[in-house]
């Protein structure tokens, strides 16, 4: 006890004047203004009914949350968001990992492939949507021309409830590959050649190399890519807004898109804030869970 007190006293003495406050103040103020204040405000708003300019008019307790979870549309939107996440995240990561591994060798001409594979990184959501919207066009689109050439019936890529979410997911994978590819490529380039030389000595093949050397050594990048893709999937908005507008029949009405509509089109800020909080809790829990699960698998050199 006495020793502990002494240590504390020592620490106290070592600390200079509270200069740290001065260093932290700017970022603390900015954080308070742009992160903490809006966050607290969102929590408060979610317990209120609001006027259409956002003023809190009437405390309604949990009723915003209760009506969310009894609303068929919202539950459906939750389900669709999960489906969309499951569709996009694993495929994005697996495809970009494969592309990165295949194009990481130093053969001549690899630079061309690397540029192509990472090029979607430079395409804005708006440009990508316009381009895909043309491909998906029900009558004049290239995709349906191909389907018809093979003798099939034209498909309502974005207008059929059975297809829309898959079409959007495909576009999203295509768009996200560029970024994941770049990050994973960076990870691959950091692996020291000596690791591969030892594999050669052991005599392992491609998959042995991938499993025993490549994946463990780029696991930090992999972990980063998975986390970011997951959060992006939960928050995706642009593609939906430009390609389907949440349709057909709400089949692509993901959580953030619904939130946006409730807040900024229909001006029901109370309900929208409640949705924001639900989304926050969801992403928080999933990221937590993911960190716990993969913690052991990630090795930092």
């Amino acid at each position: 006890m006495a020793r502990k007190n002494k240590k504390e006293a020592e620490e106290k003495q070592k600390k200079p004047l509270p200069l740290w406050i001065i260093y932290l103040l700017p970022s603390m103020l900015i954080f308070t203004l742009f992160v903490i204040y809006p966050f607290v405000k969102t929590i408060v708003t979610s317990f209120f009914a609001t006027s259409n300019t956002g003023a809190l008019t009437q405390m309604v307790g949990l009723s915003n949350y209760i009506s969310l979870f009894t609303s068929e549309t919202y539950l459906h939107s939750l389900g669709t968001t999960f489906l969309y996440t499951i569709l996009t995240v694993p495929l994005t990561v697996v495809i970009s990992l494969l592309l990165a591994v295949l194009s990481s060798s130093n053969l001549p001409g690899m630079g061309v492939f690397r540029t192509i594979f990472s090029s979607t990184m430079g395409i804005s959501v708006a440009a990508g949507s316009v381009f895909w919207n043309l491909l998906f066009h029900p009558t004049a689109g290239l995709l349906n021309r191909v389907v018809q050439w093979f003798g099939g019936e034209p498909i309502g890529w974005l207008t059929d409830t059975n297809f829309a979410v898959y079409s959007i997911a495909a576009v999203s994978i295509w768009m996200n590959i560029g970024f994941s590819y770049l990050v994973l490529m960076g990870g691959l380039k950091n692996i020291d050649d000596s690791h591969y030389e030892s594999v050669e000595i052991v005599g392992g093949g491609f998959f042995y190399r991938l499993r025993k050397v490549t994946i463990p050594l780029i696991s930090p990048s992999l972990f980063f890519v998975v986390t970011i893709s997951l959060i992006n999937a939960f928050q995706s908005f642009g593609l939906i807004d430009m390609l389907t507008g949440g349709g057909p029949n709400n089949s692509t009405n993901l959580m953030v898109y619904k939130l946006y509509n409730d807040a900024f089109v229909n001006f029901r800020f109370g309900s929208a804030s409640a949705q924001g909080i639900v989304l926050f809790i969801l992403i928080f829990l999933i990221s937590r869970l993911q960190t716990k699960l993969t913690e052991r698998l990630v090795t930092y050199q």
């Binding site: 700017p26 956002g54 029900p138 974005l158 207008t159 029949n249």
Partner: protein, 447 residues
């Protein structure tokens, strides 16, 4: 050294606190104070609009025309996204510095704007500046008047119409476009029997057209006489919308229908590329559709079921709001701009270049308009559909802050029908979704 630090931080703290207070307090404050002047001493008037593409070019010409016509004011026109988006931005700006003095809204934003208390009463301005409103179309004034107060200045009026490929319908023996659901179904069957390369009917889920069709069939879209007797609490379109969906479903089941989801642009390109024979869309794109089609385009009023008399439509499209709490000089400028854009010549120029129709009687008498209608009689159809509309509480049109939600729900229901759902459950889903949104929005209305 330390003292200087302290001072700096005090200054920083104060400025940040001021910022915070500005954020917190902005909900109640209105602008006012002095007007914004340009370098030449002209008063600047900020005008937010939602016109894009070809229509934006015509609008810019009109604004330039106003700026050149006098030297006291400069109107700066900015596109701020769709009607719904710019309405949202307008609310967020809370009439602070940099916010619009004039904002263009769609008919679906009227109730929200009134509820916000952030727009001036046009009736008051009309009285104050003795603006001559006798020439405005009564149907349009009817829509935008709530409890004897006119809240917006009519500007760009449109109504949904049927566009059809005249060659295709002529070839099938229909030189007159049918005016009933049943008639269109028969024509569709005839076309399908002759020409397999084209789908007789194309359609996209378009909420505005759907609620206009309800109006045309004589139904109130929402209760309490379209929300005009007192604030609406639930929808009341069930009877009419069921008939509309039943008709669409029968077309679909017959294989005569191609759906484009909710994408109006794709529908238009499908039509101009001869993939569909007809579709329903706003008359605002008439000029564009006619100009980009190589065949003769026909335009017809909205159909009704057999045995129902068409009531006409309410005056949809857009209109101009004036922000509340402007200073005298800006207010004068806004009224000068309103006087200019509602004048017959400018309205005629506007209507000829787009597909909107003039909102004042005088414009129909101008040479510009007459020449345009001579050249493109299709543009006249949309105007006549409104001009021939009865003026009563049904065609006054719906007044509801949740109108965008109501339309989204109607679209979802129609898309469900497109995808094979039965009509009754689809309508039921839309009704319950919209009603709960209305209830939750009404909860938030102060007072």
């Amino acid at each position: 050294m330390k003292k200087r630090f302290g001072k700096r931080f005090a200054a920083m703290l104060i400025s940040l606190l001021t910022l915070l207070m500005a954020f917190g307090g902005c909900a109640d404050s209105a602008s006012g104070g002095s007007s914004t002047q340009t370098a030449e001493g002209k008063t600047e008037i900020l005008f937010w609009h939602s016109m894009s593409g070809a229509n934006q070019e015509v609008l810019n010409k009109i604004v330039d025309g106003f700026n050149a016509s006098q030297d006291e004011y400069v109107v700066v026109a900015e596109n701020q996204g769709s009607y719904d988006e710019s309405t949202g931005k307008f609310f967020n700006m809370a009439n602070g510095a940099g916010s619009a003095h004039i904002i263009q809204i769609g008919e679906q934003n009227l109730q929200s704007m009134i509820d916000s208390g952030m727009i001036a009463s046009i009736s008051d301005l009309i009285e104050k500046y003795s603006f001559d409103d006798s020439d405005l179309l009564e149907q349009v004034v009817n829509f935008y008047t709530v409890g004897d107060t006119l809240y917006v200045m009519p500007f760009n009026c449109s109504s949904p119409v049927v566009y059809y490929n005249k060659e295709v319908f002529d070839a099938a023996g229909y030189t007159e476009f049918p005016s009933t659901f049943e008639g269109i179904s028969e024509a569709a069957a005839a076309i399908a029997g002759q020409d397999s390369s084209i789908k007789p009917v194309g359609m996209y889920a378009y909420g505005y057209a759907l609620d206009q069709m309800v109006t045309n069939m004589g139904g109130y879209i929402i209760n309490n006489e379209n929300g005009r007797a007192s604030r609406a609490t639930e929808v009341s379109y069930q009877e009419q919308i069921t008939k509309i969906y039943d008709w669409i479903k029968s077309l679909q089941d017959g294989g005569y229908l191609l759906n484009y989801g909710t994408d109006g642009t794709n529908t238009i390109s499908g039509f101009t590329q001869r993939q569909i024979g007809m579709f329903i869309a706003s008359s605002a794109s008439a000029r564009n559709v006619i100009d980009s089609s190589e065949f003769e385009v026909g335009v017809a009023p909205l159909p009704v079921p057999e045995g129902v008399e068409a009531q006409g439509v309410y005056a949809g499209g857009g209109a101009l709001c004036a922000a509340a709490g402007m200073d005298e000089q800006t207010e004068k400028g806004v009224m000068a701009f309103f006087t200019y854009v509602t004048s017959p010549e400018v309205q005629a120029e506007w209507a000829s270049g787009t597909g909107y129709f003039p909102i004042c009687h005088g414009a129909y008498e101008t040479d510009t308009m007459k020449a345009t209608y001579e050249e493109l009689p299709q543009l006249q159809v949309a105007a006549e559909q409104l001009l021939n509309s009865q003026v009563n509480s049904v065609t006054a049109g719906p007044l509801l802050s949740q109108l965008p939600q109501l339309r989204t729900d109607l679209q979802s229901a129609l898309e469900a029908v497109f995808n094979g759902s039965e009509v009754a459950p689809a309508v039921e889903q839309a009704v319950s979704s919209t009603n709960s949104a209305i209830a939750s929005a009404n909860e938030g209305v102060a007072g």
